[in-house]
């Protein structure tokens, strides 16, 4: 970090990383005043500003840490556990939480801690695939509709509306009952149904940005449509897209676990947090821990993801004055 030249007002420094090139060497009153008062004005890159703002969002920071810990537990946990994924402890069948089996065992004596961690691993993996795939599809389609306008946009917009009136859960149930047995197929199915939410956001942003001068300048310089769309406009839409992608992880976890709970999602033996609950719900009366523990993990993940998304929304907003 370097000392700023005197040509920047403190507001410029906070709000925008590029002011020096716009107004070079014109000392503003505010900067002069700030210097006289002995204030230290530093310039920070966009990434640095984002991080500084994010850090102040204490809940989001905690959420990120908890999420990282959970992911680590899901990945490392099964590997460290003394029990195998389908190993049966016949002497301790249907047990509640004990010292040997902190999460208890299922009806045929398999350790639920290993199974829950592996379930979490699959649930998280599905959610990440859904978030990436949905964001990719939604961004491309939304960008095309918003940038080109006209007939193309009408088609895009009507398709988005169509998907929004079809209740997603209904389609997932109908199709899931036959086709969604594996983690990858259900991730694909969820992405196919969820892209309109992102596409609508991206389309709106593209509609707004394509009228601005920097796009006109790029056109005048001879840039073609794909270059303008993805090199010039897309970076401006980075914030909302990242926030939506983060929140999608939570949506995907909830949808996937709901489907698995209803018995049409990922099928056993592949464990997910949802189908572990589905398998345990029959013994709700005798052993509620087998339902409440995986349920607690689902809530923990979605809660963290939502706090993280909220923190990123503030941090990635270049007009935010916090921090």
């Amino acid at each position: 970090m370097s000392e700023t030249p005197s040509g920047m007002s403190p507001e410029d420094v906070v709000d925008d990383a590029r002011p020096a090139s716009i107004a070079p060497d014109v000392p503003s009153d505010a900067a002069v005043l700030a210097e006289r008062e002995g204030m230290n004005i530093t310039s920070r890159s966009f990434g640095r500003q984002t991080w500084d703002r994010f850090r102040r969002h204490r809940l989001a920071l905690i959420a990120a840490i908890v999420l990282a810990l959970l992911a680590t537990a899901f990945i490392v946990g099964p590997w460290l556990s003394p029990y195998g994924f389908s190993e049966r402890d016949v002497l301790n069948m249907r047990s509640g939480p004990t010292a040997e089996h902190p999460f208890g065992t299922d009806t045929i004596g398999r350790d639920l801690m290993v199974r829950t961690f592996l379930g979490g691993r699959f649930s998280l993996r599905i959610a990440l695939i859904v978030a990436l795939l949905t964001t990719f599809i939604g961004t491309v389609i939304g960008a095309i509709g918003g940038y080109f306008g006209g007939t193309v946009d009408t088609i895009v917009n009507q398709t988005i509306n169509l998907f929004l009136i079809i209740p997603a859960l209904v389609v997932l149930l109908v199709v899931g009952v036959r086709f969604a047995a594996s983690p990858n197929s259900i991730a694909f199915l969820l992405a196919v149904l969820l892209w309109p939410t992102i596409a609508r956001v991206v389309r709106g942003l593209f509609l707004q940005y394509k009228e601005q001068e920097f796009v006109l300048a790029a056109k005048a310089a001879g840039a073609r449509a794909p270059r303008i769309m993805f090199r010039h406009i897309l970076p401006n839409t980075f914030g909302p897209i990242v926030v939506n992608a983060t929140l999608l992880i939570g949506v995907a976890i909830i949808l996937e676990s709901t489907l698995s709970f209803l018995g049409v999602g990922v099928q056993p033996p592949t464990p997910t947090l949802g189908n572990l609950i589905e398998q345990a719900k029959g013994q709700l009366d005798s052993k509620p821990s087998a339902v409440l523990i995986p349920g607690g993990f689902i809530v923990a993940i979605t809660l963290c993801v939502n706090f993280l998304g909220d923190g990123l929304r503030d941090a990635l907003d270049p007009t935010s004055r916090k921090g």
Binding site: Q158, N161, L162, I165, I166, P167, L169, V170, V171, L173, V174, V175, V177, R178, F179, G250, I254, S257, T258, F261, L262, G263, V264, I277, K281, L284, D285, P288, V291, L292, G295, I298, V299, T302, L303, V305, N306, F307, D310
Partner: protein, 321 residues
């Protein structure tokens, strides 16, 4: 205005047709009603009957047109998984059971979402505001089925005995006619609470944002500056405008609620539309599945339309040409 309404309705119809056609195709290719017969010991005639019932020898678009043209007239065919009763009657019957949950849930949601949203906006960054924000984050992050199961554990296992009385039923529907008023209320409470939490969480957050935007606007400052009491300004000038976006959300949510919640109805063994849909899918009953989906989509579309129109009625700044 009238022209706009007509145009909106006309533009919705093709969307509904395309939507139901897609769902019909998906339903038709993902369930095979003949597969069920393969395990049973039946003769050739049974196969013939099923093929004739669903027109299985026709291409899917033809089947869709057939189904749709009779469905519009209220004839959705018989439902084999329900003793071949008319699908239409079953769907209407179950829609009534769903409405028993949806309508009270809707009123509780409306009241609490406004109260929480307005209070937390007016007292922004107070303890209460943080509490409401925490509540809505929790509600948004809690999957319906986890919350429903939690209620069942709490009231079916931990607190099922209050001074010798069971406070709430955790399974099944009881009506006034069959069990009396008290049991009716006791069986309705938990499913309604389940529906309430999830929707109230998102609505109160929405209402908070809408209210904050209004409170910080110029005309509120003007009203305060000319000496009106704060309370009056917030309730008369502020709330009126902040309600406009919420009313449209209400319309959409009411449509969703009336369409039935598959998860809530499954957990609480409630004989509503959501359960019926799941039964239809699992038993590969095409008529039943399509019948329920048709009603759900219709509700969603009609209430979305209503939301749009209400917006125009409530906000005089919006004009339709």
């Amino acid at each position: 205005m009238f022209a706009y309404v007509v145009r909106r309705i006309l533009s919705t119809i093709p969307l509904l047709l395309v939507g139901t056609f897609i769902v019909f195709t998906l339903t038709a290719i993902s369930g095979d009603p003949l597969a069920r017969l393969a395990t049973a010991d039946v003769d050739e005639a049974a196969y013939e009957r099923i093929i004739e019932l669903y027109n299985l020898d026709q291409p899917i678009p033809v089947r869709y047109v057939n189904w749709m043209s009779s469905a519009i007239q209220g004839d959705m065919g018989p439902a084999p998984s329900q003793g071949s009763q008319p699908t239409f009657n079953i769907v209407m019957d179950r829609a009534g059971n769903t409405a028993r949950l949806a309508i009270p849930a809707f009123f509780f949601i409306a009241i609490t979402a406004i109260t929480l949203g307005v209070y937390s906006a007016v007292k922004q960054y107070s303890k209460l505001d943080y509490f409401v924000t925490g509540f809505s984050f929790l509600g948004i992050s809690l999957p319906t089925f986890v919350f429903g199961l939690l209620l069942q554990v709490v009231f079916g296992l931990w607190f099922f005995d209050w001074f010798g009385v069971r406070p709430f039923y955790v399974l099944g529907m009881r009506t006034v006619a069959s069990h009396g008023w008290l049991d009716m209320v006791r069986s309705h409470v938990l499913p309604i609470v389940t529906l309430w939490l999830v929707i109230t969480a998102s609505e109160s957050r929405f209402q908070r944002a809408a209210m904050l935007e209004v409170i910080n606007s110029d005309y509120i400052r003007t009203a305060r500056a000319k000496g009106l009491p704060r309370r009056k300004v917030i309730l008369k000038h502020g709330l009126r405008n902040a309600l406009i976006p919420l009313v449209t959300i209400w319309a959409i949510d009411l449509g969703l609620l009336l369409g039935g919640s598959v998860v809530t109805e499954t957990i609480f063994a409630w004989p509503g539309l959501g359960r019926l849909l799941l039964d239809g899918i699992f038993q590969q009953d095409l008529n039943l599945t399509m019948g329920v989906i048709m009603v759900i989509s219709l509700l969603v579309v009609v209430f979305n339309l209503l939301a749009d129109l209400l917006y125009g009625v409530l906000d005089p700044r919006i004009r339709y040409e």
